[in-house]
């Protein structure tokens, strides 16, 4: 009964925190909790086995990608399937430049290149919206892949590029964790900035937004750039772990889909929403892959459908529902007790 009732509910109203310049006590508390969680996460590779580490790395990659995806797509409702375009570009910058520049420089360079690339794309695609934007962004990733492949043929370079950077497993994880932390900080900062407010208005009603004086084009492009920069950096950080980079792997459309799906599954109206999609999703898929190797694909699909039908508002919706229900339950309990005591 809840799912239907809830489906009819309007877009979730984010709680009014007002607009304050200073950081409030509540915000300090949240920051502290986040810091503790990150510190706990950072310990994972020290205590977990290689397998736990590899799952942790997967989660870190997808959290960084899904959260940065959500920074743009959450408030604007533009579903971008271009993640792979930026992720792959970042990978290729590292793979191609390793002989020319030190690795950390390449990671930064990947970020800069991703930003520039996103700015051009963002400015070009302003008029395109809805499903047209979705498929356009998908086409973009494929186009980049085709061009890189063709260039490799023409330039006579090897197709697969070897990326050897000596990094321990732990280091990979910490790098990705650090990136995720930066994504969160930026997301948090945007959320309390004028830019974030502008985007929420745009997401609600673009016509109202322009009449409020918001330069919607600029706001969208800035967010797209931020989001894509993170994807490019993530690609740059992951490249050495894969050791070998080739276009089919680097620009896999599946990556873009998976990022979108994890984010949607978690919920895109809260900064921590995608995380709540990534973790259960990764673990569930892991559980299925580990236990049903022969029917992995079939069961992944079935599990997926169950999620879509029974968790219609994402994990965030589920949690908020549970909290609300608990609140109501406590309230009715209290009422009952009060009545009892009165009757007695």
């Amino acid at each position: 009964m809840t799912s239907e009732a809830q489906a009819a509910a309007p877009v979730p109203v984010t709680k009014s925190t007002g607009h304050r310049l200073g950081i409030t006590g509540r915000e300090w508390r949240n920051l502290a909790i986040a810091a503790v969680l990150f510190a706990l996460a950072a310990v994972v590779p020290l205590v977990g086995s290689g397998y736990v580490q590899s799952i942790a790395i997967s989660i870190a990659i997808y959290t960084a990608l899904a959260t940065s995806w959500m920074l743009f797509s959450g408030p604007t409702n533009y579903i971008s399937l271009a993640t792979a375009a930026f992720f792959g570009s970042g990978m290729y910058i590292v793979a191609g430049g390793l002989d020319l520049a030190p690795y950390p420089v390449l990671v930064l360079l990947a970020g800069v290149a991703g930003a520039l690339f996103a700015a051009v794309v963002g400015l070009a695609t302003l008029r395109i919206s809805g499903v047209y934007f979705v498929i356009f962004s998908l086409g973009l990733a494929e186009l980049v892949r085709q061009i890189i492949t063709w260039l490799q043929h023409v330039l006579g370079t090897m197709s697969g590029l070897y990326v050897y950077v000596d990094r321990s497993e732990e280091m990979f994880f910490w790098q990705l964790l650090a990136l995720t932390a930066v994504v969160y900080l930026v997301g948090w900062w945007i959320g309390r900035s004028r830019l974030g407010f502008a985007l929420r208005i745009i997401g609600n009603d673009e016509l109202v937004a322009v009449h409020c004086g918001i330069n919607t084009a600029r706001a969208k492009v800035i967010l797209f750039v931020i989001s894509s920069t993170f994807a490019a950096i993530a690609g740059a950080l992951v490249a050495p772990r894969w050791s070998y980079v080739e276009p089919t792997i680097a620009f896999s459309p599946f990556l873009s889909f998976q990022v979108v799906i994890m984010a949607l599954l978690g919920g895109v109206h809260r900064l921590w929403g995608p995380l709540l999609g990534v973790i259960p999703f990764t673990l569930l898929w892991e559980l299925i892959s580990a236990n049903f190797p022969a029917q992995t694909t079939l069961l992944l699909g079935a599990a997926f459908l169950l999620i879509v039908y029974f968790i219609p508002n994402g994990v965030v919706g589920l949690i908020e529902d549970a909290l609300r229900q608990r609140g109501e339950w406590l309230k009715s309990l209290r009422l009952l007790l009060v009545r009892r005591s009165r009757d007695a």
Binding site: G18, L21, A198, N204, D205, L207
Partner: protein, 244 residues
């Protein structure tokens, strides 16, 4: 009339394909004047408002705000220059609280505020439009009329010089209408220039200095409310010819 008018329209037209929605309209609006824009449904009033606010780009003609041509520069730039509006059918921001719906108008527009100052200002505006304690309520929990009030507060949050009210008084009961009219009078007393599109003739009579009557996109009369409402052509436009 002061030397530099607040807003002028010169030979403004808007075509949608073969349809001429606004046809060669010109007028000048002095600072602190209240202009009524009236006419039957479909006569082009709202399109005219959209052209001024920048929601639409005129096909021809120019619109000047304090002498500066603003035709086609885009709604967000026009808003920053001090033009704010309400919509014929309320456009709320359903995912935001009432307070945020108001502050939305005060961050990026003509006058800009942020932080506590903005919140205080928005609370004051809510009080002014008659919703003193609604700040944390969800927008969708409000009645249509209250949503209209919030929309006006949003328009005022940017402290606009020119205010466009598109049937803002429609649907109010007599008491509400009275306070509504009083509110608009106050806004004018603050020195704002106002254009009202309205079907409530009583309000037009009591508020407007001047009226423009539109029919099929064209201006068919201009003058004081009393004069234009007595005009034979205006009556025909509204009621049709006797033998039609």
């Amino acid at each position: 009339m002061p030397d530099s008018p607040a807003l002028t329209a010169h030979a403004v037209s808007k075509r949608f394909g073969g349809l001429v929605a606004v046809n060669d309209i010109s007028f000048a609006l002095a600072e602190n004047e209240v202009l009524g824009l009236i006419g039957p449904n479909g006569s082009g009033k709202t399109t005219m408002m959209n052209l001024i606010s920048g929601a639409l780009r005129p096909s021809a003609g120019e619109i000047r705000l304090y002498g500066e041509d603003i035709a086609g520069i885009g709604a967000s730039r026009i808003a920053r220059k001090g033009v704010a509006r309400t919509f014929q059918l309320v456009r709320m921001l359903p995912g935001l609280t009432v307070l945020e719906n108001v502050t939305a108008g005060g961050v990026f527009g003509h006058a800009r505020r942020w932080g506590q100052e903005l919140n205080d200002y928005a609370h004051a505006l809510l009080q002014r439009v008659g919703l003193p304690n609604a700040g944390d309520v969800a927008m969708t929990a409000l009645t249509y009329i209250d949503q209209k009030r919030v929309e006006l507060a949003r328009a005022l949050a940017g402290d606009p010089k020119v205010l466009l009210l598109d049937e803002w008084l429609a649907g109010l009961n007599p008491t509400e209408l009275k306070t509504g009219i009083a509110l608009i009078e106050q806004l004018r007393a603050e020195g704002r220039t106002i254009i009202i599109v309205e079907h409530v003739m009583h309000a037009i009579r009591s508020l407007c200095d001047r009226c423009i009557v539109m029919s099929s996109g064209a201006k068919i009369a201009e003058g004081t409310p009393r004069d234009v409402l007595a005009d034979a052509e205006v009556i025909r436009a509204y009621l049709g010819t006797a033998d039609a």
